[in-house]
């Protein structure tokens, strides 16, 4: 072991101390995910049936938010302790770019739909990276307090920028992604031109100028749980967050909150398998993936959380919530009633412009 890998190993040990000793045990899988309600839905839809079927012991690690940095550190140390990792598509693309995730061949590594449609066709456009197996479609969208927005409930994304009709604070995420698109859309840019405009410095200034009009009324969030709390406490009258978080505020906590689906931004979350696993571990990880991303399993997850399954063939199988017994289909971001005006997260654009626009956005925030 040379000097560099030794020191990198030390860094990795510090970063991933809890999972270090879990590696390389027979019949064990270390699965990394986001924690909270989301991990719980995976536990019930995927982990429990899989353990029952194969006897494999599954260890959960709630490190997805830091997954890219940690995988990079593990890779440098040459000691990868994770078998399957749940990441958003943008992170999967970066991991694939860095050679930290293995490439997946949908034809041989993923299950075909029950009617025989190949996995590649079943996932369709959602296979946005060679390394990524999509699991759910979620969206970033707005929720508003029904009792605090006055008599006319907002139906249009531009209500966020309309301080006259809807005075009060709004919660927005502390990063440029999504906010810049919404700002341009409400500044009169046609939906089809948004990214062309945003690619120019003038377009970026235009979006920031639009955000400037509401800057004093914005509470900036960085964790997905912030907006639900701010809405529940009445700190803000509307705010953006992930649709599943709003579902639980509305249906589980029965808060006076409603969804504003307009201009919701679709994004994908799914699995990657780290590159450089030993053949046995890789085979185990692939076996799990084959099981956990088949049509029935993806539909099962929607029983526990309001995110849409990534396979076309899973959609008709989505039923009722396992505990509350409410019909889940109308709560899916992909439901036709909700998806009248949507964006799809532009992976390519943000891979290129993220660093540049983020620097401008943060400088603008600090002004």
């Amino acid at each position: 072991m040379n000097f560099k890998s030794l020191s990198a190993l030390a860094v990795t040990t510090a970063l991933c101390a809890p999972s270090v000793f879990a590696a390389d045990m027979a019949d064990e899988l270390t699965i990394v995910s986001w924690g909270g309600a989301y991990s719980k839905s995976q536990l019930r839809a995927y982990h429990e049936p899989y353990s029952e079927k194969t006897g494999t012991n599954i260890i959960n690690d709630d490190s997805s938010a830091e997954a890219v940095a940690k995988l990079r550190a593990m890779n440098e140390a040459g000691n990868i302790t994770w078998d399957v990792v749940d990441v958003v598509a943008a992170d999967a693309i970066r991991l694939c770019d860095e050679g930290l995730a293995m490439e997946i061949d949908p034809a041989t590594m993923l299950a075909a739909a029950p009617d025989g449609t190949s996995a590649a066709d079943d996932f369709g456009d959602l296979l946005v990276s060679e390394c990524f197996i999509p699991q759910i479609v979620y969206s970033t969208t707005f929720g508003y307090r029904t009792d605090l927005v006055g008599d006319t409930a907002p139906t249009d994304i531009c209500a966020v920028f309309d301080l006259e009709a809807y005075p009060g604070k709004r919660a927005l995420e502390k990063r440029p992604i999504n906010n810049m698109e919404w700002a341009l859309l409400c500044d009169g840019v046609a939906k089809a031109d948004v990214y062309d405009v945003l690619a120019t410095p003038e377009g970026q200034d235009k979006a920031l100028a639009k955000l400037d009009t509401i800057k004093d009324s914005v509470v900036w969030w960085s964790a997905g749980a912030d907006t639900p709390q701010l809405l529940a406490d009445g700190e803000v009258i509307m705010g953006s967050t992930y649709n599943g978080r709003l579902f639980s505020v509305i249906e589980e906590q029965k808060q006076p909150v409603a969804m504003l689906w307009d201009a919701q931004v679709f994004d994908l979350d799914g699995w990657i398998i780290p590159a450089g696993l030993s053949p046995e571990r890789q085979a185990r990880a692939l076996d799990y993936i084959m099981f956990a991303t088949d049509t029935q399993r993806l539909a099962d997850q929607a029983k526990y959380i309001s995110y849409g399954p990534a396979r076309a063939s899973s959609a008709p199988l989505v039923g009722k919530h396992a505990d509350m017994g409410i019909e889940m289909a109308p709560h899916m971001p992909t439901d036709p009633e909700n998806a009248k005006n949507t964006f799809l997260y532009n992976y390519e654009f943000w891979a290129d412009y993220r660093d540049d626009i983020d620097a401008k956005f943060q400088a603008w925030l600090a002004k």
Partner: protein
Amino acid sequence: MTDTTDTGPVLAADGTPLKRSLARALRMQKMRALALIAPLLLFVLITFVVPIGQMLWRSVENDIVADTLPLTVVALASWDGNSGELPSEEVYDAFARDMIVAVNAKQHTRLGTRLNYEKTGISSLFRKSGRKIKKWDPVEDAPFKEKLIEVHDGWGDIETWRTIQAHSSRVTGGYFLNAIDMQKTPDGPAAQPEDKRILIKLFTRTLIMSMIITCSCIVLGYPVAWILANLPMRSANMLMILVLLPFWTSLLVRTSAWKVMLQQQGVINDVLVWLGLVSDSARLIMINNQFGTIVAMTHILLPFMILPMYSVMQTIPPTYLRAAKSLGATNWTAFWRVYFPQSVPGIGAGSILVFILSIGYYITPEIVGGTKGVFISNRIAYHISSSLNWGLAAALGTILLAVVLLLYWCYDRIVGIDNVKLG
């Protein structure tokens, strides 16, 4: 006395010079001591010094360009970027050969990410071109210049080549330039455009706010430490538990509690409105700004100030104050001239602890700091875990470390480091 120095070295009982025999005995002792601390020393070296050293090295390391495109870097060296003309076929040929190797090793996208920090758009340029270049043959498919430009017009842009050329050295000062709101351009160092400057501002804000937090900790902690030191043992221990209680509570819980207290619909505002001191429409904004960060961090760091002060104050005999008063000093004079100077080492130790802890704080500012109350450490965290620009994060960290050492040095010059006591 003078006789002995004249008659040669002093001998020990066995006839060896006393000096050498003493040195041997001391060496044995030192070795034994070293063996005792060896486990800790090794632990600190392996888990602390080496990783930090390596992180610091990252702030100047830039092997990736020369490693991924070895032929291109050599070929580009003779190209004049200011000539206004694209590089010759020779460069394109070298580049195509490098890329074919890099694409097969999946290195080209990593290089794209690296260069995208310098010029927006290079990331997708490398990713898109890689797919097509993969099928090429270095001999049969030559010449490459037109082919590459056909694959993506980015290869026909002089700026792309100038960027590669400017960042091809193995050791770079580019990250440090970025860390102080400048950038390394093909024409040499230049200031960042105004709308991207943020890091210097964050450094100054971090320093100023850390000082405010340290001062408020002194102001709040001093009386508490004084009471603790002057109460009978039993009640002092009770109070001590109250001081230590925050230590036993999770940091996140404490920070979130401040959120509940300070927010506009929170406890403090509710009470003020109920008392009629503040109207319902003009509730105070006490969170998501600098005030929120200062309040929450003062609370969290207060024990680090109180404990050293308390242990120093305990060693000050109460008889000194009584003696001063019996000699005619007023209460204030007795405190200020007799008691306070003796408690300064405690203040010094507490201040260093609190200041250095707060300068690197990250979770609390992230949760309660909004946009005006975040620190440089939040930006470092962003570059470590989100943008993956570890070079820049390392440069920022190095600067922060240097600033802390500099302040420590100033402190040593002004107050004196031997004037610091933890008890």
